[in-house]
Amino acid sequence: MTAPLTPSHEPWDELVAGYAIDALEPEDEALLLGHLSSCERCRAELDDFALVASQLGSLADDEVDPPSWQTVRAHVVGPADELDVRRRRRPGHRQSRLLAAAAAVVVLAAGGVVIDHYATSSSGGGADAALSACIAQPDCSVIRLDTASNEVAAVIVDAGKARLVPLKMAAPSSGRSYAWWQLPRDGSPIFLGSFRNVRHETTATPLSDALSDTAAFAVSIEPAGVTPQRPTDVVAVGANPA
């Protein structure tokens, strides 16, 4: 896929239509996700086409009965005696929401201190040191993530694990967090984690798909405290050069 940089917006519209029905090739999907971060028009178009797609779904009216709630419940919520334990573990639980709200207050109190700074890695040697150390190793890879104009983060992949190093990222606004994603060449985006702290790299996360099968990595902005199913507002994308 060549980047649709013609004056017409139609190439992007074509990608949006394909994305709404999950029909894009991974490289096209990565390309579009990068574009969506900066194009309000295409985001609105996607919301429109998603509605059309859901109406197409209404045609699947086979004369079949869905599984009972009790069947689904047993897999989703679990047996009644496990319910309390599971609820305590849920990320959306009230207590974790209160903690998130408290964290948001701290961020607001910082008053823009974290806008546009360069991060330091958790090892204390700085982002540049972490990247340099990786580059010096034969089996370590660096994938740099860009917005339309800036390099904002890098993903370091070493021994089957990836970690994201923020380089120049603003702190997310209140109620939002960053999510980072692996975009396989064949398959759907894989959620790798969420973060709000742009001063430190993330913890290392095992990759379920090999780096060789990865088209790109991406960072999106999502509602805080939820596990997104797929990226919504993508703010940076880095193609795997391998």
Binding site: E10, Q55, L56, G57, L59, E222
Partner: protein, 194 residues
Amino acid sequence: MSDASLREDAQLVADIAVGDEAALEALYQRYGGACYRLSRRILDDAQLAEDVVQQVFLALWQGGGYDRSRGAVSTWLMSITHHKAVDVLRREAGRRKRLADEQGLVEIEAAGPGPADVAWTRLRADRTRAALRGLPPEQREVLLLAYYGGYTQREIADMTGLPLGTVKSRTLMAMQRLRTRLRDEVDDDNGTPP
């Protein structure tokens, strides 16, 4: 807590986020059937379809990802269901036959509403089916191969012998026409008392 079956969709999602199981059940009773039928139509396998529906509602229970600024809960649920079902289908590719062969497409176009459908679902399906029939056949084909067959646009190009650019442009035209047709019908409804 009030009767969950009377709450609005967005309120149910908000209640699910704080662990309200009755809200989850109400949302399942409202949309679980549509999600299951979509998943089963795509996968042609009852067990895989059930797995997908469980994944969808598990994701909702564990934190969701629904953003009300991006559209209705029903749209989001169908979108996630479709996404997961296609994902399963592609992972299973090569080991089993895909549904959306020519016969499958004919069935989708010809099918009538099922007995489990409530009135609004039936009405929506009727309208969507009519809008789909209003598409030129070549646009309808690429749309259904993608949506119900789970094929990527490149796979459709390979299957049909069409250039990839043609598949993309036909998909766009089909989606734009459907949007216009379905929007017009909603507008007509707004001016007509029930």
